[in-house]
């Protein structure tokens, strides 16, 4: 017997952080979450899996386009025609979503109720499935404790949308400890909510399969589902199968040895080639992070736009379909001209000024006023941290000052080299 465990489909969720101004390949980006789900269904049909479990978050909570639900119905119907049943618990996003209430799913899809944990028994496979959906978005109880005891003589699977012990960048919903889950005596816990694949335990298996499609640069690497093979009531394997149509990469490119811009571009080309090779036929979306104390720093700063344009050109030559999400520059000059604030010349005075900014409330306030002419124009999605969140605003100011200091070092050096 084999079944598919997936979660966090976030159907029709857009990909973030891609610049329209630089001509991102929208044709390839749009519908990538749909393609990922289609790939899963294709796999299920080709491999004739016995059933599928989905551990929550089929859609984005705030998304209201009914065609998203229709697409889901169409894919579930394909599975239904092949006699493949699907068992679903709703996650925090689904609970928030209007689509959940409006959509009528095909008969082969079973959604676990939200009022209590319940069990579905598959006599043909000697399997018992236990699950409970989210009724509201923010579930703070340890709902795992309320799951029914294992059915003796059957292979018991628990479906649960949870942050487990808490994960960075994920709201800590339905918290529970691994011990809570192990204590239930189930054979497999199909978890959802955390977007990174993670196996918390083996025998019993407690698995986050990750999401089907990475949607931003924080969700890098292969994304897909877990196919679980069972024999004699034991898990033989729990393998990852990639479904992503677009793959995200963060390439940290150390350029300490680079003497000039050509060397930097060579290093970038190598990183892009590696990403293209790893992505295969998919579109690779890459963030390049240039790092290191390098003699090429001045050239990098002086010719930043040229470097970015050449990096995009290198992406075209990388051997696959590669798109650069952003080029982040964190390089430094080798003998940092701004590294010795005690020096006696004017640069020393400048350094002391920059260093004193951190503690100079008057200067910070003056800078904040100057920057506010832009910040106040930003839309709400970008305006965070909010105006009344002083700590976060301070942190942003610190980050901007640090970046400005690096920029200044590069510009002054570049001017000196020119």
């Amino acid at each position: 017997m084999k079944f598919i465990h997936t979660a966090d489909i976030h159907l029709d969720s857009p990909l973030s952080g891609l610049s329209a101004a630089r001509g991102a390949p929208l044709e390839r980006l749009r519908g990538s979450t749909r393609q990922a789900l289609r790939n899963l269904v294709d796999y299920a049909l080709a491999e004739a899996v016995d059933f599928i479990v989905i551990a929550g978050d089929l859609y984005d909570g705030t998304w209201r386009d009914y065609s998203t639900g229709l697409f889901l119905v169409a894919q579930m119907a394909r599975l239904g025609e092949a006699g493949i049943a699907v068992y679903v618990v709703l996650g925090n996003h689904d609970a928030e979503s209007k689509l959940t209430r409006q959509l009528r799913l095909p008969a082969n899809v079973h959604v676990f109720p939200a009022d209590r944990a319940s069990t579905v028994r598959l006599d043909a496979h000697d399997v018992a499935l236990h699950g409970r959906s989210f009724g509201v978005a923010a579930v703070s109880d340890n709902v795992a404790l309320g799951y029914p005891p294992a059915d003796p003589g059957r292979f018991n699977i628990g479906l649960l949308h949870t942050a487990a012990g808490g994960r960075e960048a994920h709201a800590n919903y339905a918290p529970c400890a691994v011990a809570d889950l192990v204590g239930k005596g189930y054979d497999y816990w199909a978890l959802g909510h955390v977007h990174t694949r993670e196996i918390l335990c083996e025998r019993p298996h407690i698995v986050f399969p990750g999401n089907l499609q990475g949607r931003n640069v924080r969700e890098t690497g292969p994304k897909g589902f877990t196919v679980v093979r069972i024999d004699g009531g034991r898990v033989l394997s729990a393998d990852h199968v990639a479904t992503d149509a677009v793959r995200w990469f963060r390439c940290r490119v150390g350029v300490a040895e680079a003497l000039d811009l050509d060397d930097v571009l060579d290093a970038v080309s190598r990183a892009l080639g590696a990403a293209a090779g790893e992505a295969g036929d998919r579109l690779a979306v890459v963030r390049i992070e240039l790092d290191g104390a390098t003699p090429a720093h001045a050239a990098i700063v002086r010719q930043r736009e040229h470097l970015v344009a050449e990096s995009h050109a290198a992406a075209l030559r990388a051997g696959g379909e590669v798109w650069i999400e952003r080029v982040c520059i964190s390089t430094r000059p080798p003998g940092d001209v701004l590294a010795s604030p005690g020096r006696a010349d004017a640069i020393g005075a400048l350094l002391r000024g920059v260093a004193s900014m951190a503690a100079d409330a008057e200067a910070r306030s003056a800078l904040a006023v100057e920057l506010d002419q832009m910040l106040s124009r930003l839309p709400a999605d970008l305006r965070a941290p909010s105006a009344d969140d002083g700590t976060a605003a301070d942190a942003r100011l610190d980050r901007v000052i640090a970046a400005a200091r690096d920029l200044l070092a590069g510009r002054i050096l570049a001017e000196d080299d020119a």
């Binding site: 029709d12 857009p14 973030s16 952080g17 891609l18 610049s19 329209a20 101004a21 991102a24 980006l29 749009r30 519908g31 209201r64 386009d65 009914y66 065609s67 998203t68 229709l70 169409a74 209007k98 409006q102 003497l259 003699p295 952003r326 003998g335 001209v337 010795s340 005690g342 020096r343 010349d345 004017a346 640069i347 005075a349 400048l350 000024g353 920059v354 200067a363 003056a366 800078l367 100057e370 920057l371 002419q373 832009m374 910040l375 124009r377 930003l378 839309p379 901007v400 000052i401 970046a403 400005a404 200091r405 920029l407 200044l408 510009r411 002054i412 050096l413 001017e415 000196d416 020119a418």
Partner: protein, 1171 residues
Amino acid sequence: MRIERLSLARYGHFTDHEIELDGDGTCLHVLLGTNEAGKTTALNAIADLLFGIAAQTPFGFRHDYKDLRIGATLRASNGTVLAVRRRKGNKNTLLDEDDRPLDESVLTRFLDGADRAIFTGLFGLTHASLRAGGDDMLQAKGDLGRMLFEAGSSLAGAARVLDALDAEATALFTSRRSAGKPFYVAEDARLAAERSVSEHTLRFDDWRRNESDLAAAEGALADVCDRLARLEERRTLLERIRRTAPRLEALREVEAELAGLADAPLLPDDARDRLEEARRTLDVTRVRLDREEQTAAAARRELAGLDIPEPLLAAGDDVRRLYERRGAVLDGRDALGELLGRREALCAELRTLSDGLGAAAGAGGDAADAPCDVALAQLRRLTGDDADLCNRQLDVGERRAKAAAAVAGAEAELNATAVPPDLTRLELAVAQAQCAGGLEADLFEAEQVAAEADGRLARALAGLRLWSGDAAGLAALRVPDRETVLRFEREIGEAERLAVRARDALAAACEEEVRCARDIAALGDASALATAEAVAAARARREQGWSLIRRLFVDGERVETSEIEAFAPQPRLIERFERAIGEADALADRRQGEAERIARHDQLLADRDAAGAARAACEAQAVRCERDLAALKDDWRALWQAVGVGAETPREMDRWLERRNDVLRAYDAVQAASRRLGEMRGRLARERHDLLAALAFAGGEPAATAPFASLVEEARLRLDAGRAAERTRVALLQKSKGQIAALREEDARLDALAEQRVIWTEAWSVALRQVRLPAGTSPAAAAKAIELWEAVRRTRASLDEVERRIARAQRDAAMFSAEVLRLLAKVLPELAAAEPSSAIHAAFERLQVACRDAQKRQDLLARIAGAVEAARSAAADAEDAEASVRRLMSMAGCAGEGELPAAIDRCRRKTTLLARADGLRDEILSDADGHSLAEASAEAESMDPDRRQAELAALTREIAELFAEAQRLGACKQSLLQRREQMAAGGGAVEAEQARRNALADLEDVSERWLVLKTAAFLLRRGVEQFRREQQGPLLARAEALFRALTLGSFVRFRIDYDDADNPCLLGVRSDGTTCPTSGMSDGTRDQLFLSLRLAAVERYLAETEPLPFIADDLFVHFDDARASAGLESLIALGDKTQVLLFTHHRHLAELARQAGGGNRVRVQELCARA
């Protein structure tokens, strides 16, 4: 640090080259070298020695990278000496004299933290960077902060960086909306995408409505389709009968007629055509036979009438050839006349030329008598030389006259110029005065500085809390040192933290204790629990019962009644024992079942005890912490009571100490300014006295009360006027000498030309003799004779050509006549007596007539043969036609040809009827929709035709109406399906949302870049301003003195003004009191301003750190000599503070440096890479 010796062992062009830079008292080393002597190489070598050779060095062109070596002996200001070498490489590149690696840190005390940027930027100044600095000051528009920052930093272009940052930020975003700026482009895209998302989102209600409409349309369509099917079935039956009934009737009629033609013969389908064709063929062949016989007879008659001359035809080619030559012979005859006339004309021309030459012509003007080509060429060359000589003699004569006039003029001008007086004493006086220049401005500045220092001290003192005394009293206080204050701050802070932590721990422990108690209470009555004690007690009771029973009934012991009664009344012992067993088992079972609850109870009891103990410990700890904190605060207050200042928190008191230090620094500044003011006043009085005495000695009458700067200016003007007069007289003397030399050169050229004329005359006589011209012939006459000899030669050649052509024409005419006569005698003797050209013309015409007759004879013979062949063919066709008619008669069984047409008609009718019957049967079967002929016939007979027609019409109408309805419903369904498909595919909301996210990414990118750019500009601007605030006073005071010296007193001081944005700007104040902004200064003056600021900045740097050598490269290119001397003096003055090297290729600069330095303060040495 000074460089005592620089060794260019293997570097650039240099090999084993040593430059000595030591020398006590030497303030300026001038390294003089021509272009490519290696100045740049030596200059770079110093930086490479101190900081390492770059990976891509351009100085490895002669020696391999691995062999590059630079060495030096360095002396630090404390006298330490270090000899090092530098090789190229990645590590261990610093070596000692034996090439053993040295740690880079050995250079630390010599460099004192300076890096390559500081060394090359601040301590290196080239002509180009000086000019760039001047240009940057122009760009800064006098902005004092930027100017000081540029001059005072090792890196140039701060102003450019600031402008670029501002420009880039503005290009991204401005508060005022601008559609083209990236921020607004992205924002507009985001808003558009948001609208698009809203427009294209598919709503559930829309979907549900569409589904409902679709179901209704599908139901109605199915109903209409059912009704249509039933009507179509009936209509098909009626239509079939309508189609088959008429054909069935026709079939019956055909079959009746066929029965009457049963005996008709069967002939080929084309029997009638064959008969008619045979008859037509017989008629035509008869006509053809008659026509061909007549044609043959007529041709034979015409052939008999022809007469053809055969001999003429045989000689046809010869006649044609001679006729073709006839034209050329006639043309030659006409040309002969012209040639004879031409010969006469040429002979006459030859005679005329001979007459022109006269005796020189020789015998009869024959070309052979002309002089040879060599003699004529010599004569021609000499004619040319004559003209050239004449022109040159004229030119030289004119130039000599002009030179003589110029010599006379220069002598007159020199005599009119007066001899200048001796200026030595005045010069010395001015030099001394200039050295002391700027003293008044310095005094003014010092007064300002003192006033400002007083003001600062008063403000600082007023701003200092906790002190109401004066600065001296404040200075006298014995305050705790900062370390003590910081220690108290640390300790009190730590004690406070510990106290807070202890209080928190105490609260947490209390809370935990309460929680445990609450949980124990919530768990219920402890006595009801099957605790381990309860189970043990039940089991003990059970064992007690068993022991009594065993002793009573098994062992037969006697047991005291009281003991039994204690367990149970006698008659109930067994029953009570069984109950005890049951109770013990039940308690044990309950304990099993309540294990978790019991364990929880036990745990809670243990937790409560532990929490109680922890609370007690925390209470003790909190008391200790509070006590420690109070003790520390007491110590702190006692510390400040001894000083006499009220104590606040250590942090506050640390700030108070900092402010006290600010007050004390201001107090020190006041005292220093006061001392400097006194010194300045005394020095000015001395300098003024000396200058007045010097001017009086020089013949001037200075006002004793005039400002010091005016006195200096007056002396300088006197000195400048005297120097100008001296320079003018020297220039006039040099000019006069040059003009006399030019006059002598012209005389020498005239003599040389006269000698050349004598040589020419001799050569001319010889040449005339060789061409037989008289001895006195002029060059013009000789040239004419040369022309005539050449004309004679050309005419003679033309005459020879005419003679040859006449002879050829006469020979061609004779040969033609002879050939014509021979031919005609053979074929046409009657024409032999005629003129040959006319005779051959007549023979040609007769030949053409004979040829036409011969062709005609050929045509007639062919026509006769054709007619005979045609007649034979017509006879054969007639025979075939008769055979065909006979075959038809035989097939039809006719006795004669006349019966044939009737037989053919009967046969054709029978065939037609048979085919018609077959066709009707096929049509009926085809229309019968699969029914047989008999079934179709039965159907047709079953219905009355009139009723059938009426029913069909009604059916057709009803079907048409239903069909229209079905079409309408189908279109409606299709439209709803299409809409459903579009909805399911998504209406573009997903794409719009993706576009919105992309626009957000752009906005984030733009805003991030703008924030960083804006912040960088903010930091730089503040840095520049802070540097100005810190350095303005001391830097400007020193730079002002330097600028005054470098401009030779043209500018006496600086003034600070404020622009429209209240930014301080620097103005130069001239000696007459007028001001000049940097934009109004000449390029050279701006260079001098930048040099002043830079030298002042270098001196400031030197005052705080280990001195580094100052290296100047061709600085004074745009300085006049006087200002260059002043610049060199500034460098010499700097040489008192640090080593100064000047690289130059201008020898006069080296000379000026020597003069400026005097004695051994300046050392000049030549540099040569090839050495």
